[in-house]
Amino acid sequence: DTSGKRIALSNNYAGNSWRQAMLGSWEKVAGQAVTDGVVAEAPAFTTAENQVTEQAAQIQNMILQGYDAIVINAASPDALNGAVKQACDAGIVVVSFDGIVTEPCAYRIAVDFKAMGKVEVDYLATRIDGGNLLEIRGLAGVFVDDEISAGIHEGVAEHSQFKIVGSVHGDWAQDVAQKAVAGILPSLPDIAAVVTQGGDGYGAAQAFAAAGRPTPLIVMGNRYDEMLWWKEQKDANGYETMSVSIAPGVGTLAFWVAQMILDGKDVPQDLTVPFLTVTQDTLEDSLAGTQPGGVANVEYSLEDAMAAIAGK
């Protein structure tokens, strides 16, 4: 019985659509759980700045407030370990997801970002014979960026018909990506496809259009605007691509995992969740299920969570 337990979400950033969708899912699922009396409290906390030290301080404040479990989307995989360890030492269950922490005492709900990168190239190999690729990366020096990029490069090494002719940092932001692509595009040869990390596909499409270049095959990242654009293209000229990203609802999985641990259930320390893929066929459904400005999402119920764990 966890009806007296309190679970807090420590979130390091709220300034983009993915995070907003994540917070929305949390509020919906965890809020329902509180109403249903499954847990006593499940507030979400966001730091004003995406900053390790602020989040560490936030976690410490949560320790002080005596939460039973802390669910974390971390600003850094290693740099929060100090605070996480303190939480564990205080007997608090720590579950990290998306931005996971490496501290051994914490639970991790990880996405295999490397595989995500590789899937993109694998998909391209099924679609086109080969050609030049443009890679849009995330924020330099951040772990996720390196992982996805490594996966992409691994894929390219496997499929030697592809060649990455340009690589820019789009910081996972649509407008930054648009700017970076617009700058490098004039000097690039014909681009067959664009591999992305999510949140930047629409910006790339805009940049190609603005430069008057033929639209290449752009791998999308499940954002509403990306899917909407894709849909328009699909209806207009049968444009075909794929879209892949981690679902913001994974936060709710983390919530249930924390709840189960508090409930005394046996949960493995490391879980891997599949990333969410939208294909040509599922596009309409995904689009319909996503609210404007959001991200294609899957929210977990307790049963889903149990299934996810059992499936492991």
């Binding site: 659509s17 907003q20 020096g141 617009a182 000097s187 629409y202 603005a210 605007d225």
Partner: protein
């Protein structure tokens, strides 16, 4: 020769020199491929930096300690509000624009109240208000990504002979602002306040009214940037203003405006904004690793400013 010499003493000329050098380096590397298109792209993107840069310039010119850190969140809020109100319909364009300007005015007034009535140092006042503004944007739109009205999208992306229409408009705006700075009472007052606030007051300048207009102008231009930017990039997003925080300050200062206040230059903002864009483009084209790219970016900025040199020391 004397022409070259007087020109080289103008701080702003160096931003153009830097811009040209970087562009040339890129062109040489790519064998001239797409060099003209790169300039077009640079013009399109520099436009937005210039809009906020102009506002930031006036603020910075009013003296040390004056800087507007709320520009990024004002961009986000204005974009979100305008997009939601217009909801992709051309008919609502004017109303959306008015709402966006309204955001700017509100932010400007709010900032000024913090600075004036609550006497909070401007840098902290605008930092605090930026948090509040961002929260408003979140609460209002939750990162809503609504497409801009086609008319707005077309206008912001239109080109005439490879020159973005918006860039032409903003070049005109910059020219007007240059005149405002140098040839109007308001501009003169800003320059005077920046040199010595007390002396300005004693010379009959209504210091507080001028400061109010300056913060208002900065916020309104940020709002305008948000409006146009969301038209240009196909919708508003919460983090779309983020990169303009440092960029707005950087282009102002690289463009020859003195952080000590009292000395400003509008033309330099254009040079600096183009320079910053082309610099990133050059390094992207060279394809160096992220670390090397960052180091090169920094060193080139420092090199340009070092060659330009600082102000002549006064007697």
């Amino acid at each position: 020769m004397t022409f070259v010499k007087t020109l080289s003493q103008k701080a702003w000329i160096w931003s153009f020199v830097g811009m040209f050098a970087v562009w040339l380096a890129t062109a040489v590397y790519t064998g001239g491929k797409g060099s003209a298109d790169v300039l077009t792209a640079a013009l399109s993107f520099a436009t937005f930096t210039v809009i906020v840069g102009i506002g930031q310039m006036f603020v910075i010119t009013t003296g040390p300690g004056n800087v507007d850190l709320s520009i990024p969140s004002t961009i986000s809020l204005s974009g979100a509000v305008a997009m939601k109100i217009m909801d992709g319909s051309n008919a609502m364009l004017a109303i959306g624009f008015a709402a966006s300007m309204g955001c700017g005015v509100a932010v400007g007034i709010f900032n000024y109240i913090l600075i004036r009535v609550l006497r909070i140092p401007p840098i902290i006042a605008t930092l605090s208000s930026s948090f509040l503004i961002l929260s408003s944007a979140i609460a209002y739109g939750r990162g809503l990504k609504i497409k801009p009205p086609p008319l707005l999208a077309d206008f912001t992306t239109a080109q005439i002979m490879g020159i973005p229409v918006l860039a032409i408009v903003i070049i005109l705006l910059a020219a007007v602002m240059g005149v405002v700075l140098n040839r109007t009472m308001y501009g003169r007052s800003v320059l005077a306040i920046g040199q010595n606030m007390r002396a300005a007051w004693l010379a009959g300048i209504n210091v507080e009214r001028i400061r109010f207009f300056t913060y208002l102008l900065s916020a309104v231009l940020a709002a305008l940037c948000g409006f146009l930017l969301s038209g240009f990039s196909g919708g508003a997003s919460l983090n779309m203003g983020q990169e303009y925080l440092l960029a707005s300050i950087a282009v102002v200062v690289i463009g020859g405006t003195s952080v000590a206040g009292g000395k400003a230059n509008v033309a330099g903002i254009w040079g600096a904004a183009m320079f910053m864009f082309l610099l990133v483009t050059m390094l992207n084209t060279f394809g160096a690793s992220a670390g090397i790219r960052l180091i090169m970016t920094g060193l080139i900025i420092v090199a340009v400013i070092t060659i330009a040199g600082g102000d002549e020391p006064q007697r």
